[in-house]
Amino acid sequence: MFWNERMETLKGKDLGDLQLRRLRWTVTQAGRVPFYARLLGDASVGTGDIRTLQDVAKLPFTSKQDLRGGYPFGFLAVPLREVRRIHTTSGTTGKPTVVGYTAKDLSNWAELIARNLTMVGLGEGDVFQNMVNYGLFTGGLGFHYGAELMGLTVVPSATGNTRRQIEMIEDFGVTAIHCTPSYAMHLAEVAGEMGATLETLKVGCFGAEPWSEATRGELERRLGVSAFDSYGISEMYGPGVAMECPEKDGLHIWHDSYLVEIVDPATGEALGPGEKGEMVITPLVKEAMPLLRYRTGDVTMLMDEEICSCGRGQKISRILGRSDDMLVVRGINVFPSQIEHVLFSLPEVGEQFMVYLDRIHQLDEMTIEVEMNRSTFSGELRDLHRVQEKIASALRETLGIRTDVKLVEPGKLPRFEGKAKRVVDRRGVLF
């Protein structure tokens, strides 16, 4: 099922021509932003220098820090009166990043969401409960208007009050939900406690944080949904940038709207299909806030196949981690998503874990607290040791480092609504 079949299946020369035309338009639009006018001037690059798609490499990168420096409206290419809406993304320090949308941007965005939701099998007659933060966070309103556009019945339930969320799913006959995967796990837990069967649910759209195949299996089993990974960042409108099709083997990124490059995070050098690196996106249709070669910080790769069996084009792999979340432990690169993947593939592991990093006698030590699975407790201390050793050796095999595994009681570790913060780095500064 397609929302916009022509655009969704555009390939080869047709796609390349459209992307080039739109890239040139984006460079012109970016030239209206003083920051880019200066940058392009310094590099002596203009729209005229973009003759092929490969010429994108002539353009400068844009970083998250650059955007912060433009607070609040330094990156707008249109007068504020043409901006219909503002969203912000919270940074870890200081001011948030402000993103603006023209009326055209809002309709582009809604269309992309409509493509995604159609792709996962939703349509008129479906009831869609949007369980993410509304307001300044892009996930709420972004999905909301896309779902309305395509004719779904939308329940804007936002976050919080999990019991009430479950009652609404049952009372309103909700068929599809959107939330973070960690909140979905929490939802499953509470539904279990309430004895709610969530009979009507069939589709779960989960995004805003990385999650593993093991989590997918768990969510599909416990919520009775088909679970799809959704990807987006506020700088690229928000959710809707990419999503899985029913193949569930990589995400379709909308090539008519986003030009994707995968680069080595350290050198900025282009990487080919099958090579993992940082995703760099140049949006092709953004009016209010055009961006050039934005460093997303997300680690993924372009998949080898140029055509998916669903008829759409080249996919990106599921996000493998953050280039800046990457933990360097005893000189080895570790992504928290790898830890999650290992843990949730073991039946002895319960629902949550936490990672602590300490520096003890100049050595990095990684401690992992793991909630045990109630149903695998035998009552014997030696079985607990066996579980502990099994987890530590599975982690050592995947990560290549020794970890200290601690078993804790179920329900003892923090639950997260929104982005899960499972890593606590207590190593402080290096002396």
């Binding site: 045990m372 407790f377 035998s378 009552g379 014997e380 607990l384 040791h385 078993l407 009681e409 179920p410």
Partner: protein, 144 residues
């Protein structure tokens, strides 16, 4: 032979080494009028198992599970000890000669006699050997 008569359901509770967990278990038992005859704690390396012998194991299981504890039942036997020197040695000797391993044990003073709680690797054979040597075992009926 009906071995199950002597299978005593010990409650085993997973516990992190955090102060107050044992107290929380004891309080929960008291609230529901459950008597704890004996308990022991085995701990190592950041976590432990609290083992308890109570008069209503099923009730205790429900109560503790409801409070979020991780609980399981473990079958143990209770040997009534003759109140004279050498009793413990005798039990250990009988089991040792039969090649039965004692995984752990603890004791409490019962009404008529001291009771030695044993977790062994072959409970059926342990029951047979102890009875065959004239020993006497607590019946599970005393704990429900």
């Amino acid at each position: 032979m009906e071995h199950e008569r002597y299978f005593i359901k010990q409650i085993s509770v997973f516990s992190e080494n955090r102060p107050g967990r044992l107290a929380a278990i004891a309080k929960a038992m008291e609230e529901d009028g459950i008597n704890i005859f004996a308990f022991s704690i085995a701990e190592a390396d950041g976590f432990g198992v609290v083992r308890a012998l109570v008069n209503h194991p099923d009730k205790a299981y429900r109560k503790l599970t409801g409070l979020g504890f991780v609980v399981s039942f473990t079958d143990v036997i209770g040997v009534k000890m003759r109140d004279e020197p050498g009793g413990l040695y005798e039990v250990a000797r009988i089991l040792g000669e039969a090649g039965i391993n004692i995984e752990y044990s603890y004791a409490y003073s019962g009404k008529e006699a001291a009771v030695l709680i044993l977790r062994v690797d072959n409970i059926r054979s342990a029951i047979e050997k102890i009875l065959a040597h004239g020993g006497s075992l607590m019946e599970a009926a005393a704990f429900r």
